[in-house]
């Protein structure tokens, strides 16, 4: 009788600790969709690169020392930005829905902290990529985006579901590995942002959302 009350106390403590410090309305489906968008984006980028016959790594190397055509860079940038916006909008909408379901506020202290801590490393990575392009080191851009995205996830994981940390570590390792296969950046990019997101999104969907 008494111990049932204590059990309730403990679960209340746990509930309050996680609800007040972590943003738990992150939706698993939005991760899966982000992965799908990344794959579609990678397909578009692939087509575009083929038009410049840059898909052959050796060719890529030769051209990489020379400035790449501005038109191509602009196109790849546009694809990347569309993919990112689509993923962000989907993620926000689905998280709002999930938050509403559990009667949670979407814009509170914990979600604010999450957003700030996620975008800080990401912004640094983005600027770093621009610098790489500036010095015609674009072969490293794919690796850099993977590594910094991974770091952003690791940093943000303290303020949301703990699994994000493992996804971040996977991204960092994968990004580092990709530095040894210059010219194949797009494939690493597609596997990382596409398949990793789909895999972790599915995992989180089954772990947290299906209740």
């Amino acid at each position: 009788m008494e111990s049932k009350k204590y059990l309730e106390d403990i679960s209340e403590i746990k509930n309050m600790m996680s609800r007040s410090s972590r943003f738990i309305s992150l939706s698993g489906i939005s991760g899966v969709l982000a992965g799908v968008y990344a794959l579609i984006g990678a397909a578009f980028a692939h087509v575009r690169l083929q038009q410049y016959s840059l898909i052959d790594p050796m060719e890529y190397y030769k051209r990489n020392s020379a400035p790449i055509e501005t038109g191509l860079v602009v196109d790849l940038f546009a694809i990347a930005i569309v993919v990112m916006l689509a993923a962000l909008v989907t993620g926000t909408i689905l998280s709002i829905k999930k938050a509403k379901k559990s009667e949670e506020k979407i814009w509170n202290a914990s979600s604010r902290r999450l957003v700030i801590n996620f975008f800080l490393p990401l912004l640094v990575g983005g600027i770093f990529c621009l610098v790489l392009i500036q010095y015609h080191l674009s072969a490293l851009v794919a690796s850099t985006t993977l590594v910094f995205y991974g770091l952003a996830c690791i940093n943000a994981s303290k303020y949301t579901l703990g699994d994000v940390r493992y996804m971040g570590i996977a991204f960092v390792l994968f990004g580092l590995a990709s530095t040894q296969f210059l010219g194949y950046g797009l494939y690493f990019w597609a596997i990382g942002f596409g398949l990793f997101h789909i895999f972790y999104g599915t995992l989180m969907y089954f772990k947290y959302d299906r209740k």
Partner: protein, 96 residues
């Protein structure tokens, strides 16, 4: 019997338990954040924070954000220590 002794009467209420839990994992929380998370009324929350403040378990800072008064709460060292003891005691009781 020593286990029972560690159950702290000051925390033996849903709202106070909630306040302490929130302040254990956050550097500070303001009145509205606590209200929102605990679903308590102003008066209810005020009296419970007052009780915890009197016990020196939490620290209260009143300040102005712009022209709006804002009350910020944080757990004291004593509060964190005592609450940890309380949790440990609860866990032991359940496991028995």
């Amino acid at each position: 019997m020593s286990i029972i002794n560690n159950i702290n009467k000051a925390f033996d209420h849903r709202i106070r338990l909630g306040i302490m839990s929130i302040l254990m994992v956050n550097d500070y929380a303001d009145f509205n954040m606590l209200k929102e998370l605990l679903g308590a009324t102003d008066g209810n929350l005020a009296s419970h924070t007052k009780a915890l403040e009197t016990g020196k378990y939490i620290k209260v800072e009143k300040q102005f954000i712009g022209r709006k008064p804002n009350t910020r709460y944080s757990a004291t060292k004593l509060g964190k220590l005592e609450f940890q003891k309380h949790i440990d005691a609860l866990e032991k009781l359940i496991r028995k």
